[in-house]
């Protein structure tokens, strides 16, 4: 069941990577990057339960925080510079 969940997360990550690469505007790329990091947190948590190693719990907290700081900074940068 966890393996099925990991497969679904891989497909979801591919969708976000496609948006990150193609996305016509910079805002689209931010959406793709943020979604990709969200999917990564989910995948780390699911893989952690699969292998039963509690060290993966720390990784979810750190990646969730880095994801927020990254997209907030990128969004403010895009807005202030008026980039498209």
């Amino acid at each position: 069941m966890i393996q099925v969940a990991l497969a679904l997360l891989c497909i979801a990550g591919a969708g976000f990577v496609a948006r990150l690469v193609r996305g016509p505007t910079l805002a689209d790329r931010i959406v793709g990057l943020d979604g990709l990091l969200t999917v990564s947190v989910m995948a780390v948590a699911a893989y952690g339960t699969l292998v039963g190693d509690p060290v993966y719990a720390v990784v979810t907290v750190v990646v969730a925080l880095v994801s927020f700081v990254g997209s907030a900074t990128f969004a403010r940068f895009v807005e202030r510079k008026g980039l498209r």
């Binding site: 969940a5 679904l8 959406v31 947190v41 948590a45 907290v61 969730a64 008026g82 498209r84």
Partner: protein
């Protein structure tokens, strides 16, 4: 209990899959954000809750619950900033928005929000 945890992880992954498909099928940045911000809160909370139920020990469970709380606090802020950046860099102009309150407020008061 393991079955419940695995079901939560699977449901959260299905939400993430739908968001990934939405990235491919929706036509502008706001629709894509609409698809992408659902699993950022609910889907991630479900997956981390499933992992918190299934993992052994108090410390990793607490860390996973902390990650849920942090994500519930920060994901709306990040989505708000990204949406505002998309709107201010011209994302809303050529897609035919029916109601555009942010443009109206900025026309009324050019100092709305910080630049």
């Amino acid at each position: 209990m393991r079955l419940l945890a695995s079901s939560l992880i699977l449901v959260g992954s299905v939400l993430a899959l739908l968001a990934g498909l939405g990235q491919l099928r929706f036509r502008d940045v706001f629709l894509r954000m609409h698809a992408a911000t659902k699993p950022a809160t609910l889907g991630l909370a479900l997956v981390l809750l499933g992992a918190a139920i299934r993992v052994d020990g108090v410390a990793p469970t607490t860390k996973l619950l902390l990650a849920i709380v942090l994500q519930l606090l920060t994901a709306p802020i990040a989505a708000h900033l990204v949406g505002r950046a998309a709107h201010r860099t011209g994302g809303g102009r050529d897609i035919g928005l029916v109601i555009d309150d942010l443009a109206r407020d900025e026309a009324d008061d050019p100092d709305t929000g910080e630049r």
